[in-house]
């Protein structure tokens, strides 16, 4: 990968990690390796979905799983391409514990001509004991003028 490509890739990751959705909730992003990203979501009161238990809303988990899948795809692209989520499947293994960070690790599985495949896991203590797992497919939308993944 050339230096220019690497700079573009880093810029894209910084941009994607700063979607209004993610930053409004306090999420942070780091690149683990090619095709692999990790996001951290600190616990906060506004994330609560069940006021009795303080458990984070399932939709927040959905949002960050979706984003980490998209970023994993974006991190492998050698040139700017926009893409949109086609479908997202989530299995909720157990409730996230209140007052603890949630981590999201996304992994790109395959970039094909028109579509791309990714998976992601949400966890708190270890990735082997996930809170939820996701499988997502994306479609390239063909507008290369967009600097990072479109949704």
């Amino acid at each position: 990968m050339s230096e220019a490509q690497e700079l573009w890739r880093l810029g894209m990751m910084a941009g994607m990690g700063r979607t209004s959705f993610a930053t409004a909730l306090g999420g942070e992003t780091e690149i683990v390796g090619p095709g692999r990203v990790r996001m951290r979501l600190p616990y906060s009161e506004k994330l609560i979905g069940n006021p009795d238990t303080g458990v984070v809303h399932g939709g927040v988990i959905t949002g960050f799983l979706d984003q980490s899948c998209g970023m994993a795809i974006g991190s492998t692209l050698k040139e700017p391409r926009s893409f949109a989520t086609l479908d997202l499947r989530i299995d909720y293994m157990k409730p996230a514990k209140p007052n603890k960070d949630i981590f999201f690790e996304g992994e790109c599985l395959k970039i094909a001509h028109d579509v791309a495949f990714a998976r992601a896991r949400a966890y708190q203590d270890t990735i082997e004991d996930p809170v939820a797992i996701a499988t997502a497919t994306f479609m390239f939308t063909g507008d290369a003028r967009l600097p990072f993944g479109a949704r």
Partner: protein, 150 residues
């Protein structure tokens, strides 16, 4: 959930507006719920914190999943009289159209209700209910009042 137990004891349907208002994350996104005849409709005004792609701009895929999931939860407690919020087991979201920066709506229906699990379908739309922007299918565990029969 106290609100759900109270309405179950009184033999009444829960107040959907009150239920949605009690969920912090729904308040954060400005989601409100209301009854329209025999169904529940959720409404979400557009806001900057909902954006996933700032250039189009388009709604974040996660916000769409969240709205559909919330419509599902509200409809399930309304239809079944469950005394706790249903627990999601799995969901699949199909993204049909780009979510534009305008007010969005969502509704759900129970496709099949078992004693412990329900299968739910939900749709989200913006100007035209006949042109949904996303659809959800999912399974949720429910907890009913009274002795467990399973």
């Amino acid at each position: 959930m106290e609100l759900l137990e109270r309405s179950a004891r009184a033999g009444e349907k829960p107040d959907i507006a009150e239920l949605i208002a009690a969920v912090p994350y729904c308040r954060h996104l400005g989601i409100t719920g209301r009854r329209e005849g025999d169904r529940i409709v959720l409404e979400m005004p557009f806001g900057d914190q909902l954006i996933g792609n700032p250039i189009l701009p388009a709604l974040h895929g996660g916000v769409i999943g969240l709205m559909l999931e919330t419509a599902t939860l509200a409809t399930v407690v309304w239809e079944t009289g469950a005394t706790a919020l249903p627990k999601p087991v799995d969901i699949t979201v199909d993204y049909l159209r780009s979510g534009r920066p305008v007010t969005s709506f969502a509704r759900a229906r129970i496709a099949r209700q078992g004693r412990r699990v329900v299968n739910v379908h939900a749709e989200m739309w913006q100007e035209d209910e006949a042109r949904p922007i996303a659809a959800l299918r999912g399974h949720f565990l429910i907890q009913m009042s009274g002795p467990r029969d399973t």
